[in-house]
Amino acid sequence: MKYLKFLFVGIIFGIVLVKSEAVSWYRIYEMFKFESFHMYGIIGTAVITGILLLLLSKKFKNIEGEFMTVPKKAKGLPRYIIGGTIFGLGWALSGACPGPMYILVGTGAFSVIVVIAAALLGTFVYGIIKDKLPH
């Protein structure tokens, strides 16, 4: 029962990302070509709304009775710029980031499972060599 609310959030997430076309390979390509405002509009209004919601929420408590907090990202530079660039290369090539990957399977695009399997392998390889990488 306690998982039901997360299932519901996931369903809404999947619907929004399909209806906004953010799961489309073409929309990602178009974004990196700077030929459409669509994706910038989505991310931009998401961030502006997010900033406002998080500012307003500072005085409020979450469902567990604690103040609402967002996990802080660790300090560092190389991991964010190098890791981010590697992610961007893959995102533009496959047109799918880790949310849309699953959502696309729901739309019947089962070949995306190849991308998910490769992403699992990429995550696994990172886990193996992470201590040798600059962070």
Partner: protein, 194 residues
């Protein structure tokens, strides 16, 4: 009343504009934070590695993955949501791409741009079972999985949650996302698909 619900359904069935979709994504993030969790889809890749037994040989995957079951439930929901949206809440539409984009894609060998969510040139079974097509999907997926864990987050964790909470590391990561994306589209695409 019937007329109103009819008009409402028609609006739902059309693609949703960015100014509706963006705020809804922020609300999804906010609801997860209200539930005492966070909005981060790429963590599930690490969790799935742990469930697969990767923790036995690699310390990075040796953690209590059961605490992440809520996030896997979000993934399950996302798959169901994708199904509902695609099969019950959509009418066949061509994605309203910039005609310039469609033209450029044509020169790269992508026909019928925007007539489906994914290009058949990459995601049809014919493409998947060709060496080049399979290599593209595997390399793309691998880079996403490796890069997201290295950067400590993806579009949901950094671009939405991190930027919304004004965190500098997330801004750097998002700059990296774009750096990589621009290199891929502008420098590498002409080499791969030209």
């Amino acid at each position: 009343m019937n007329l109103i619900s009819h008009a409402f359904m028609e609006v739902i069935l059309e693609p949703w504009p960015w100014y509706i979709s963006g705020p809804l994504i922020a609300i999804i993030m906010f609801v997860l934070i209200y539930f005492g969790k966070t909005f981060g889809m790429s963590s599930n890749l690490r969790t799935l590695c742990a469930i697969g037994g990767a923790g036995k040989s690699v310390k990075f995957f040796d953690f209590d993955w059961k605490a992440q079951r809520w996030n896997l439930t979000v993934v399950l929901g996302a798959i169901i949501g994708g199904f509902i949206a695609h099969f019950y809440l959509s009418v066949p539409t061509t994605i309203d791409l910039n005609p310039e984009t469609v033209k450029t894609l044509g020169t790269l060998g992508f026909e019928n741009a925007g007539q489906s969510l994914l290009p058949a040139e990459l995601y049809s079974w014919d493409a998947v079972f060709s060496i080049k097509g399979l290599a593209i999907l595997i390399i793309g997926g691998f880079l996403v999985g490796f890069g997201t864990r290295y950067a400590g987050g993806c579009t949901s964790g950094h671009a939405i949650t991190g930027l919304s909470s004004l965190q500098l590391p997330s801004l750097i990561a998002v700059i990296g996302f774009f750096l990589g994306g621009l290199i891929m589209i502008h420098l590498l695409f002409p080499l791969i698909f030209g």
